[in-house]
């Protein structure tokens, strides 16, 4: 059974991304869960992956030839949950339980055995990329041609294990491993480049043996093209440094790091929906 990518056109991806943004904002308000701005910077990347590039089948979530996507920046889990539901991995009604006692949905992804579509339980930063590396090695050993994508934050790149994995993947020339950096220029309590010498990101990945490109992380066309061009012909693992805006899509959240933790009020939800074009 062949497994295919959905390859939705850009306009469709953009329309759905607006819907997902609205759902994530309402979820944050309803359940009082933080990391809203971190979700909003990553949503376009998630949409381009799940609705364009990834060769996956929601009816066969453990298909051995599926592409793997690991949300290494696990605190963007609410965005991932809504994207997986939209893609058909589980009914959206399941998400009504989000934030309730006994729910499957924590503020970080559960393990693959507990929710279809999840490849790794992340949340503790710096785990997703090296776990993805193991999956890419497994694919090569098994002679399969699936890709492994790990979405990391620029703040997450503080973790040494990210760079340990960068070194090993570079040496192994794992061309089917792709890291996407959601470079929204903020981490929990400050500017990423002020807290750690994290830039220049693309040069760092290149220096570690990766083929690295920078893209506008909200340009759905560029994201889709880059994600589906893995492997990229260089024989190296691929790094996509996605330049994003934290809080993207809502003017009063954009590039304002208060929204790493802040919960929107009813009025702010209404205003956000208006800006996203979600109210008639």
């Amino acid at each position: 059974m062949e497994i295919r990518a959905l390859k939705l056109p850009v306009a469709d991806l953009e329309a759905r991304a607006r819907q997902i943004r609205g759902r994530v904002i309402r979820t944050s308000h309803r359940t009082k869960t933080p990391h809203l701005a971190s979700c909003l910077s990553a949503i376009d990347i998630l949409m381009a992956a799940y609705f364009h590039a990834l060769r996956i089948d929601p009816h066969h979530p453990k298909h051995p030839d599926r592409d793997r996507f690991l949300l290494s920046k696990g605190h963007a889990a609410p965005a991932l949950f809504w994207v997986l539901a939209e893609r058909g991995f589980f009914p959206e009604s399941l998400l009504a339980d989000y934030g309730k006692d006994g729910s499957l949905f924590a503020e970080h992804p559960p393990t693959p055995n507990h929710l279809p579509g999840i490849e790794a339980a992340t949340g503790s930063l710096g785990h997703g990329l090296p776990m993805g590396l193991g999956m890419a090695l497994a694919g090569r050993l098994q002679g399969r041609s699936f890709n492994v994508y790990a979405l990391v934050g620029d703040g997450e790149c503080n973790e040494g294990a990210v760079w340990e994995a960068a070194l090993l993947a570079g040496a192994q020339r794992l061309e089917r491993l792709c890291v996407i950096v959601d470079a929204n220029r903020w981490q929990a309590t400050g500017r990423s480049s002020e807290i750690m010498a994290i830039e220049p990101l693309a040069e760092k990945w290149r220096a570690f043996g990766w083929s690295a490109v920078e893209v506008d992380g909200h340009d759905m066309g560029s994201l889709a093209r880059r994600l589906e061009a893995v492997p990229d012909g260089t024989g190296k693992p691929v790094a996509i440094v996605a330049r994003t805006t934290k809080g993207r899509g809502v003017s009063f959240m954009e590039d304002d790091n208060d929204w790493h933790y802040r919960i929107p009020s009813p009025h702010e939800v209404e205003e956000a929906e208006r800006q996203l074009g979600l109210t008639p």
Binding site: A120, G134, L137, R140, G160, E164, L167, A171
Partner: protein, 321 residues
């Protein structure tokens, strides 16, 4: 012991195509025969243990049975977070092997000692914890451990450990094993300190005290049937491990014991004191500094038995005979 490991894992890998070996830049020549098993089946992950452990988890989640091998502190304390999240939370069937455990690398100093690994590894949900006493136990437990459907931690020694003659040859993961039969006192030991425990039993025998010696190679899950038997059958039980006295086998047995309602034999534990060793020497010297010698074990047990005799407890008959 590590030669037996290298030999056995190469043998198992030829039978089971899911077995891959990840090394943290050690044992290069040691694994020459494993490298012939197949392209890519051996992976030197460099001196980057956190990444190595997560990589193993990723391989395990994709159908492989990775075995992670490096010096004990570096497969345990160095990357405990990756063991906890990547391996245990995901219930990933990774076998984690710590080589040169306990005081095997005494002369390298406390950075290379491992006197905490049993304690911390057994706190992890779903983790099986093994400490073979010799090459025979190592081979059997490696085979059986790879059949487990979840994470396994195995601490092993270095090289040159003696093979321990046992009255009970069969080795079953999760089951204690009789090394030597006795009737006056019972000694339970785990891992490579078994040779000292055996020597202690022999010293007691010369003094007319018959010491039963058990190998408790599986520290988690504990063989509670074996514990029930010995804590009822003997007037005194000693527990020996080349590990700190906090949280290892002695700690595990004490946890089991404090949940029991009935009267059980008192226990005495032998392990490292709560201190790093700053005066460096051979493994024998380091064991001596922590009181982990046959002479100290035998003398302590004898003393406790005579205490019981004075108190007129159930040990009285044993000592009087």
């Amino acid at each position: 012991m590590r030669n037996a490991f290298a030999d056995e894992i190469a043998r198992l890998a030829t039978i089971d195509s899911r077995v891959v070996l990840l090394s943290g830049d050690i044992g290069n020549k040691l694994f020459d025969s494993f490298k012939e098993v197949g392209e890519g089946r051996f992976l030197n992950c460099g001196v980057a243990e956190a990444c190595m452990m997560s990589t193993a988890a990723g391989l395990a989640l994709s159908g492989f049975r990775p075995v992670v091998y490096t010096i004990t502190p570096f497969t345990t304390t160095r990357c405990f977070e990756q063991v906890r999240v990547g391996v245990c939370y995901h219930e990933a069937p990774v076998m984690i092997v710590g080589t040169g455990s306990g005081l095997s690398y005494a002369s390298l100093g406390p950075t290379h000692h491992s006197l905490e690994d049993l304690a911390i590894m057994r706190t992890l949900p779903g983790m099986t914890v093994l400490a073979p006493c010799d090459s025979e136990e190592l081979r059997a437990l490696l085979r059986q451990g790879l059949q487990q459907n979840g994470p396994v931690y195995m601490r092993i020694g270095k090289k040159g450990e003696p093979t321990i003659p046992a009255v009970e040859p069969a080795i079953h993961l999760g089951r204690g094993r009789i090394i030597r039969r006795g009737s006056d006192v019972c000694l339970i030991a785990t891992g490579t300190i078994m040779s000292e425990a055996l020597a202690a039993a022999e010293l007691l025998a010369k003094e007319g005290l018959s010491c039963q010696l058990m190998s408790c190679h599986t520290v988690k899950p504990l063989d509670v049937t074996m514990l029930e038997e010995v804590f009822h059958a003997f007037p005194l039980v000693g527990v020996v491990e080349e590990h700190g006295r906090i949280g290892g086998l002695g700690g595990a047995i004490a946890e089991w014991r404090c949940g029991r309602k009935e009267e059980l034999a008192p226990m005495v534990t032998f392990g490292a004191a709560d201190t790093f060793l700053h005066e460096i020497g051979s493994q024998a010297y380091a064991r001596g500094r922590y009181g982990l010698t046959a002479v100290v074990i035998a003398a302590t047990l004898r003393g406790r038995l005579y205490d019981r005799l004075r108190e007129g407890g159930p040990a009285a008959d044993a000592v009087r005979d």
